[in-house]
Point group: C2
Chain length 191, copies 2
């Protein structure tokens, strides 16, 4: 950020009075430009014993597999956003969405809200941002070709829960270490 979006004046990065964090502040009109994490809403579309994955037709991670997910829009519900992304990326209608995972990705300031949903009639096809879509049983998941750590973590928990016969909410952080490897911090569930 270099210019104030309200008056066009130059902004500098400094700690405003009464604050403890550095913000972009306009030198002309004093407006503080707060920046906050973005929400990515996504879905695990379930069909019988399989789940739907999409192979990415866009960067980053072109050609790798992911769960349908994308940025939530203003004036939108989180549940609607997860269903919309599934429709856009996989031409698939999902119903009965329930929250399954909340993951904070500290290195990119994103919060993933991952829902489970029932894929209607088992119908899906590649949307504009997907090369292909397919249904996978657990033993068919392309673990080495998943696009993101958060997708890997979500699917790992999902199949563990399914084997145990109980789906519980998962809350975690995904943190990039100094070696650029990702660590997952998992919070305990409700007592």
């Amino acid at each position: 950020m270099k210019f104030c979006s309200q008056c066009g004046g130059p902004v500098t990065s400094r700690v405003p009075p009464g604050d403890q964090r550095s913000r972009y502040v306009c030198e002309a009109c004093d407006l503080v430009h707060y920046q906050n994490p973005k929400i990515v809403a996504g879905c695990i579309p379930e069909w019988q014993d399989r789940i739907l994955l999409c192979r990415r037709a866009i960067e980053p991670r072109y050609g790798l597999w992911t769960l349908p997910a994308g940025f939530m829009e203003n004036a939108e519900s989180a549940v609607t956003a997860a269903a919309r992304e599934t429709l856009e990326e996989a031409n698939a209608v999902v119903e009965h969405l329930t929250l399954y995972g909340l993951y904070s990705l500290l290195h990119v300031s994103q919060v993933y809200l991952m829902f489970r949903g029932q894929l209607k009639d088992g119908i899906a096809s590649a949307g504009e941002e997907s090369l292909e879509v397919a249904l996978f049983a657990e033993h068919e998941i392309p673990w080495e070709q998943l696009a993101f750590t958060v997708v890997h973590e979500t699917l790992r928990q999902y199949f563990t829960d399914r084997r145990n016969g109980v789906f519980t909410l998962h809350v975690g952080d995904i943190i990039r270490g100094s070696d650029r490897e990702f660590q997952v911090h998992r919070y305990p569930g409700p007592a």
Copy 2:
């Protein structure tokens, strides 16, 4: 938004190529300025059979009661954000946080992540943004003096769950109708 934060050029609101929604687009450098919902992370601090509320020392809703909550920061965990807000607004340390509610507030493009947490040693006092803080049993809750619909809904669900002896995750939307009254849409829980 009137000016591009990258080049200082004028922005106009229009639908970019390949998009379906109106965005602020720079007329000089073509940069699209996406705007997304902000996350408010908050806590229900529990101490024996009581919970902690704060009376607001800031607008909006100066003088009314609320749960400690505030905007999540970049590079922060949602769980850490809820605990930080509780510390800032009530000088209170909370532990063992578990996600209790996810509410999308469509009229202000905010997503509330509300956690339950255990108040350490029952200690709290007014932080800078609070006039006072206090512990309330269910029959003491100032229902007519709560600051926000989302706080009312969270507390209503909370005490219903407590009477039933089971805390479950709640997912809902809060929608402002044409009469400016708020409706709550509740999604069913996991099957």
